[in-house]
Symmetry: C2
Subunit: 156 residues, 2 copies
DNA sequence: CATAATTTAGCATGATCCACTACATGATAT
DNA sequence: ATATCATGTAGTGGATCATGCTAAATTATG
């Protein structure tokens, strides 16, 4: 996808504006980056085609959906063979509660962020799903109090 | 902001489509949720006004911007008084490298995700910025290998 | 149970805005 | 000097959103 990754300052400014407002029109975008609309939209299409911009999304308040609780879960597998990891990851991808998942160095753990409606749902997820995934050895969970900074990605 | 949080199934479907494509037009959105455009756009405006939809953003590939490395940083303060926390959080908000930050339970730590171009930038951030923040007692960092699942929020 | 009130959907209209194309200009590199 | 690339302008066709009005459905009330 991402090939011609030679971004100049105008591209960066385009990306910055797009992360501020993903629905901005090409005309407004052009005004903000100090170019006319034509080259701006051409640049944007190229950024999209090259995968630098992989999509657009609405920022939705998880709390309003009822998912007022997040939990960070650290998972350790009992064996670190590829097959077990692949199966674990495949299982994770099917769980809508798991918002984010990283394969970590060190103890070869996974770090997950889970969004649930409350402790009850979290308990159910733990007992009925997570611990039942093959080769999951141990699970450690930490509950955050508050989100101090919520970024999608490092801003351009 | 979020007041009248009575979301019916159509609202949920609207949110689901908007998280899949934040630039979808009202007409297309209407077709997908099985309504005509007028009520759909009225619902969407209400979701925006109530804060359920707080904005729109482009999904930008951090790697393409050069931020190919993430680091999870766990910070412990030497004292948990409000003033120290406020100052720490204020400092965090000014650091563009810090993408995400949570105040955690337990050891009253902060968990941060940091996006940097590489170890060199991370070292500089650590030494020149993070440890110099008042009342930071200890810092522990873990480096992820790969992002298995990258969600913005739990999908509606 | 019936009727009124409120809410919500649907349709049509109009004005605006948008993206795309073609062509000309200017800069840069070969 | 030629080729290449990026920008700007202009024009056009299409699409988009907001609005006003009506019908229908849902809810509240007597």
């Amino acid at each position: 996808m991402a090939e011609n990754t030679s971004l100049d300052e105008i591209d960066i400014r385009i990306l910055r504006e797009l992360s501020r407002d993903g629905r901005i029109s090409a005309a407004d975008l052009a005004q903000r980056v100090g170019l006319s609309a034509t080259p701006v939209i051409r640049r944007l299409r190229r950024l999209e085609d090259s995968g630098v911009v992989s999509g657009y999304t609405a920022l939705i308040d998880e709390t309003a959906l009822g998912y007022s609780m997040s939990v960070f879960v650290s998972v350790k597998l009992d064996r670190q063979v590829d097959g077990a990891m692949r199966r674990f990851e495949a299982a994770i991808l099917t769980l809508p509660e798991v918002v984010d998942c990283w394969l970590m160095t060190g103890n070869r753990d996974y770090l997950l962020r889970i969004a649930v409606t409350g402790l009850k749902e979290f308990e159910a997820l733990m007992i009925e799903r997570l611990v039942k995934i093959e080769s999951v050895a141990s699970i450690e969970s930490s509950i955050p109090i508050r989100r101090v900074k919520s970024g999608i990605a490092r801003s351009p």
